[in-house]
Symmetry: C2
Subunit: 460 residues, 2 copies
């Protein structure tokens, strides 16, 4: 069993490895005006920004009507990337202990250089070689799965920034020895779990795949502490505040009655957004900007490229309230309607917002429980780390992720919130589009607490 000191050493080791990778690779992202992006052009009719190949993704406009929402209608830019990519992790058991093949991967939007990434993180354009880069290593294990498939499910990504984006999340277990190529490392699952508590270290794509992984260790009933509670609460068939039929019916009802309409709109016809200074920004300076980025890189697929990116304004707050109900840990899920979702509503964390975006709105429009989460007593905070969102599309997008334990329901009977047991979240994660990507990050972080909580404090 690794002690707190051993874990610190392990973090230093991974940091050293990432720094080493950063040292003999190189990536520089410079902001450039949108109209100077090589290979990208503005559609003369619509103003949409697309690659000359017609592939990768497009920046388009969206016209949203949400009559019952705090803001009843708006327009916004959105990324349309209709192809589903693969986010895949190889898993191998050594003496029964699961190891993951992780990659040190840099992305132009990353804050601190390379982050811990899945074995494979490939868009379809990427692996069908539209940009004529290098082959994607290990892709063959996922395209025609070789080994035992532990996870294989399509999940959505940011519904506020992506229009119906989905990726295939996979974990494949291999029996034979698969050597780690340069830039890759076999690491114990437990170690990856621990690293989730280090700011900006495990990337979003790794987190969403980890969230979908069923329990790999056993829960021992004698164990104590919050981590043991998490493990016990993932055992299928344990108690739950609401039966699965009731949860599914609640979602079915909301998906049938929530009136949110999102229609494509020419990027040049947005209201309240201005294209000036080579970027697209909201008149109030809030929400996000669409910017141009020029990338120079060595040691990655190609030597350099240009691309548009979304640069959010401000750091978000994303939090699950959790509570013990009948000895089983439950998370308070919020049924959230974002315009980019495939099926109207997905289950989101209790709180998910960028506080600055609400400054100009009346108090009733402020997200419920934001204040409570930010003022939580330190001894009720089970997780609290700033993590980065996907650095291939988002420029320095970061959220502060929190898990806060409570012993009373702050919103009893609220129609948009329900307590779900952790084993129910596992069951829903076998299927597409139930948990949004922010909830999946928090689920991964919760799972990461299973074995040992001490790292959180040690790493900060």
């Amino acid at each position: 069993m690794t002690g707190a000191r051993g874990e610190e050493a392990a973090i230093i080791d991974v940091r050293g490895w990432l720094a080493e990778i950063a040292g003999h690779t190189f990536m520089q992202a410079t902001r450039v005006p949108l109209d100077e992006l090589t290979g990208w052009r503005e559609d003369p009719e619509t103003g949409d920004i697309r690659h000359r190949s017609g592939r990768f993704f497009t920046v388009e406009g969206l016209d949203v009507r949400h009559p019952a929402g705090p803001v009843t209608s708006w327009t916004q830019p959105i990324i349309n990337q209709p192809e589903a990519g693969i986010l895949g992790i190889l898993l191998k058991r050594v003496d029964g202990v699961p190891y993951l093949l992780m990659q040190a991967k840099n992305e132009p939007g990353n804050v601190g250089g390379p982050q811990l990434s899945p074995t494979v993180q490939a868009t379809r354009s990427n692996y069908t070689r539209v940009h004529e880069g290098r082959r994607v290593p290990y892709l063959g294990f996922f395209r025609e799965p070789r080994g035992r498939v532990l996870v294989d499910v399509r999940q959505s990504e940011q519904g506020a920034w992506f229009y119906r984006k989905r990726n295939r999340n996979m974990v494949v277990e291999v029996a034979a020895h698969v050597p780690a190529a340069e830039g890759f490392r076999w690491m114990p699952l437990r170690h990856v779990h621990e690293l989730l508590a280090v700011p900006d270290l495990v990337n979003m794509d790794a987190r969403t795949v980890l969230a979908c992984l069923p329990p790999q260790g056993g829960a021992r009933d004698g164990d104590e502490g919050f981590g043991a509670l998490v493990a016990r609460s993932r055992v299928p068939g344990r108690r739950a505040a609401h039966g699965m039929g009731e949860i599914l019916s609640w979602l079915s009802g909301l998906r049938s009655t929530t009136d949110i309409q999102a229609r494509p709109l020419a990027l040049g016809r947005l209201r309240g957004w201005r294209r000036a200074g080579g970027r697209i920004a909201h008149d109030t300076g809030r929400f996000f900007e669409v910017i141009g980025v020029r990338v120079r890189a060595h040691g990655r697929e190609v030597g350099g490229w240009d691309q548009p990116m979304i640069a959010p304004v401000g750091t978000g707050v994303v939090a699950f309230l959790v509570m013990r109900i009948g000895g089983v840990l439950h998370a308070l899920a919020h049924a959230r309607a974002d315009p980019g979702y495939t099926d109207v509503v997905e289950l989101a964390p209790t709180v998910q917002c960028t506080p600055g975006n609400y400054d100009h709105l009346p108090p009733r429009a402020r997200p419920p429980l934001l204040t409570e989460v930010l003022a939580a007593r330190p001894d009720s905070v089970r997780f609290d780390t700033v993590l980065s969102e996907e650095g291939g599309r988002f420029y320095r997008a970061r959220n502060r992720y929190l898990v806060v334990e409570t012993d009373e329901d702050p919103l009893p009977g609220h129609p948009d919130f329900r307590w779900l047991a952790l084993h129910q979240l596992d069951e829903l994660l076998r299927h597409s589009y139930y948990l949004n990507v922010e909830a999946r990050t928090l689920v991964a972080c919760l799972h990461g607490l299973t074995r040992d909580e001490r790292l959180t404090a040690a790493a900060r």
Copy 2:
């Protein structure tokens, strides 16, 4: 126990009731040119046909690219009806025996007058009273469910004719006595099951809801015959040719790699379709027509209305091959990509086509197993009945539904087909968009064979 003679009497009774309803209600549907439809107008820019209220549905165009399909690209008219309606059945137990509250409902596209329909069958426009008709009886039981919710799941409808149409399928069990209004009847579930074998009697909306209903009777291991086999094969945890993880992974892979793109297109810009004589038809006369229909009715929501409808050319063939594997009945599901599906691919019956649509195509484009199903030995045919599709949008649309038992796999290892155990179909039906509407009809018909097979022969 009801014998064959008793069942025949029951059919005569239901037929009598439907005739009686037909007698003191009245519905006449007359074909009229599209440009004479009152309340509907052609968009001057696109040619799309929409209601002046902006509600109900729109007839639009669709541009489909399917490079790996037998036809690699085409355009077609399609119905866009973005609102989710409710298809709901009330269930009540009397001395442990489940009864359903069924409605005798006529629709303009029906072949033989009123059909057996769910308790509630309401579009959202319908129940929010856009057309100022009468209140929808029993709607309150489903909008804010009162009672025990046995089924509540959104499911797709015809992906060839509807663009991302979905309805909420519900069964709510009530404890108290709920009287049957005029035009409604409490009927034993078993009886409704038996009536599935009568041509054009149980409507599509009732069938899809019935398919989603979990087993209500017990399977007795001692029982013999095909019906008992069906019941035993629905018990969760029984054997299956492929584990659920394997099935979900197969679907995830197909949904990620199937390259089918469907983009909205102005109805006036279709290629190969002609608007003439007040209707829209394909140049070859195949597939379907968009026609105008004038409805005169008494005893329904309003006295009369006009609407466009889809009138298919020819009767379809829809069949499941079923096989016993390890004593458990499996159905051979086909992963089908229709342009209107929400998530690329859904599980369809083994065969689903209108044979005449393939006359002009090369033999390799003919659907696999069509010939085999049509030439099946009579003693292997477990179900064979012509049933109607939804009469509110489709004009006299009928399919011949078959269940054919085989004892060998005719397509071993085919990448687009998999054997699923009946209990796996039940599990998938708890979630949205796994089984298409044609597969759901066949699942309902299979479930209907549970108690007694004798009716099929007696009723024809």
